[in-house]
Amino acid sequence: MTELALKVEDLKVWYWTDRGPVKAVDGIDLEVKKGERFGIVGESGCGKSTTAMTLLRLIKPPGSVEQGRILLDGDNLLDLNDEQMRSVRWSRISLIPQGSMNSLNPVVKIGSQITDAVTAHGDSVARAEAKAKIIEMLGMVGLPARVYNMYPHELSGGMKQRVCIAMAIILQPQVIIADEPTSALDVVVQRVVTQTLIKVQERLGAALVIIGHDMGLLAQLVDRLAVMYAGKVAEVSPAEDIYKDPLHPYTQLLIGSVPSVKEKKPLEGIPGLPPTLLAPPPGCIFHPRCPHATERCRAEVPQYREVRPGRMVACHLYE
């Protein structure tokens, strides 16, 4: 019925503190097409991981989803009760966690941990076939069958991350969230794990949402890229466009701050610091650091809209 695997509408996730709400995610809209690789990039604290956790409804107090809708193939996840949400998790939307080092229970064998995911969603038939299926998935991510009977501490970091990938695809969900899937790995292993991830995603045809802070790495991987800043989406563009022609001033500065091996150019940082999300500045949240800021930017929140075909941006410069 729809081309979209995942649609996020006006999502707000706040963390309540004694000094008021920290608006970690403050009204974002995202659309992820079926089978698409979608990246979310931003600096630490911009709300990208909170967004990832919210997509699986794993936000714990003091965090709370204040408003918005998360449509997974048309169903609003925020309307489901706990048991319905439990059955949606992993069978329709799964997660490749950030800290794969600690994401596996150290005293339970790999096979058993993956089997748990199968048995939580399947009948007895699924259980009987689980082992063969798990070994097949382990093979798909390049791990030998003996890993099934191993404990996490017997595996390297890269192998653990592959286990997490195999686990995430075991039930063939439509959407896979990968929260900084390679951040704890060294560069060589990063590359191999990333290739595995892409290969698996293409074979499954699932939509993959990759969260990261490395703009260069993400731009190579994904079809479209969302740039987040201080709890808001600054820009969403196809990955090839965003490097050639960044629209939002923040994206431009972000790209300018990435060192290049091809050409020698002075690196430019972005002046200032991200705002406190307890008391964000009025108007455009980026205006205190923006070189193009006008009076209007200081007073009025820019609308997030499509300014060119396939290119969404929240900035007064394009109105």
């Binding site: 699986l56 794993l58 439990r86 059955s87 949606v88 998790r89 992993w90 069978s91 799964s94 997660l95 966690p97 950030q98 800290g99 080092m101 600690n102 994401s103 596996l104 229970n105 150290p106 005293v107 339970v108 064998k109 748990d116 995911a117 939580a120 969603h121 404990y151 501490h153 997490c164 686990m167």
Partner: protein
């Protein structure tokens, strides 16, 4: 499994070394108490008006009888030799009863009381602690934490005294002392079992009440730190049922250090029994130890301490050998 054999062999060597050191300390420390048992006994008799003729010769004769003649080093090697033959010597205060006989009579009482009470306390404390940690939002559970913290601070002998005061003195529900009925002849069969349980209730309760708080608090903090782990979050993301997350991902991991702590606790409990047994006049090792100290009964003192040390060390040895089987991260070290 050659690794397992080496591991056990290593543990055993360490165990034997520790036992050897313990035996040595055990021999010399009681002898540092001023005075000697035979002179104390003779003095006691003299005080009671008994005429002790040929005092010095009798002292010398008795000293030989009890292995107290010669230098400390001579005595030490004689002691080791008799230990090897399994002979703990005669008790001085209850001569001619041997130390073995006294120990065999007292040991079942202490073991029965302490082991059962400690196991009950451990199981109960861990269950409560897990519950309190798992459902932090409940008011009952928060109250339980406060109660546990307070109980943890109350000395067990104080609990024992309170129990005696309320349940024996005021309410007369439970007996205040002894391990079995002395009046009306000893009952037989099931009646005897009930009689023993009836007498053990208050002493056991005092140990459970004063130690359960520790297990509640430690288990709670173990569960809480486990719940903060990434693998719990991922287990939840996998859509596992709460019961599965609790049992397989939280409890299992949180229990491991508690098992190790249980071994250590056994040692403390052995020491702690002295006052409990004194308050309840319980016929166990604690009471025996107290009178051995009072009478400077070196042989008995050595025997009791040796037994205590051996039981604690053995409990720990068993735990060390079993631990790698319950925690796969600890290997038997096949290097």
């Amino acid at each position: 499994m050659p690794g397992l054999v080496t591991y056990i062999a290593r543990r055993l060597i360490a165990y034997l070394l520790t036992v050897m050191i313990a035996i040595t300390a055990n021999f010399f420390i009681p002898r540092l108490i001023p005075g000697d048992p035979i002179s104390a006994l003779i003095d006691q008799m003299a005080q009671h008006g008994e005429v002790v003729s040929g005092g010095a010769e009798i002292v010398a004769a008795y000293k030989e009888q009890f292995g107290l003649n010669g230098t400390w080093m001579e005595q030490y090697f004689r002691y080791l030799w008799s230990l090897l033959r399994g002979d703990l010597g005669p008790s001085i205060m209850a001569f001619p009863t041997t130390v073995q006989e006294l120990l065999v009579t007292a040991l079942p009482w202490t073991m029965g009381l302490l082991l059962v009470a400690t196991v009950i306390s451990w199981v109960l404390g861990n269950l409560l602690g897990a519950m309190v940690g798992w459902r932090r939002d409940s008011k009952v559970n928060s109250a339980l934490v406060v109660v546990s913290l307070s109980l943890n601070q109350i000395p067990y002998y104080f609990v024992a005294l309170l129990l005696v005061f309320f349940f024996s003195y005021n309410l007369s529900i439970f007996p205040s002392s002894g391990g079995f009925s002395l009046i009306g002849g000893r009952p037989e069969g099931m009646r005897m079992v009930w009689d023993i349980l009836y007498h053990a209730t208050l002493p056991a309760l005092s140990i459970v009440i004063s130690s359960v708080g520790f297990w509640v608090i430690t288990m709670r903090s173990m569960i809480l730190s486990t719940l903060g782990e990434d693998y719990i979050l991922l287990a939840e993301a996998k859509g596992l049922k709460r019961q599965v997350i609790l049992n397989k991902y939280a409890l299992r991991n949180a229990l491991l250090p508690q098992v190790a702590a249980f071994g250590i606790a056994l040692g403390f409990v052995m020491n702690g029994s002295i006052l409990t047994e004194t308050i309840f006049n319980y016929p166990g090792l604690g009471a025996l130890l107290l009178s051995a100290i009072g009478n400077l009964d070196y042989n008995l003192l050595q025997g009791i301490l040796l037994l205590t040390i051996l039981s604690v060390l053995t409990a720990n040895l068993i735990l060390e050998i079993l631990y790698p089987f319950i925690d796969p991260r600890i290997s038997h070290g096949g290097d």
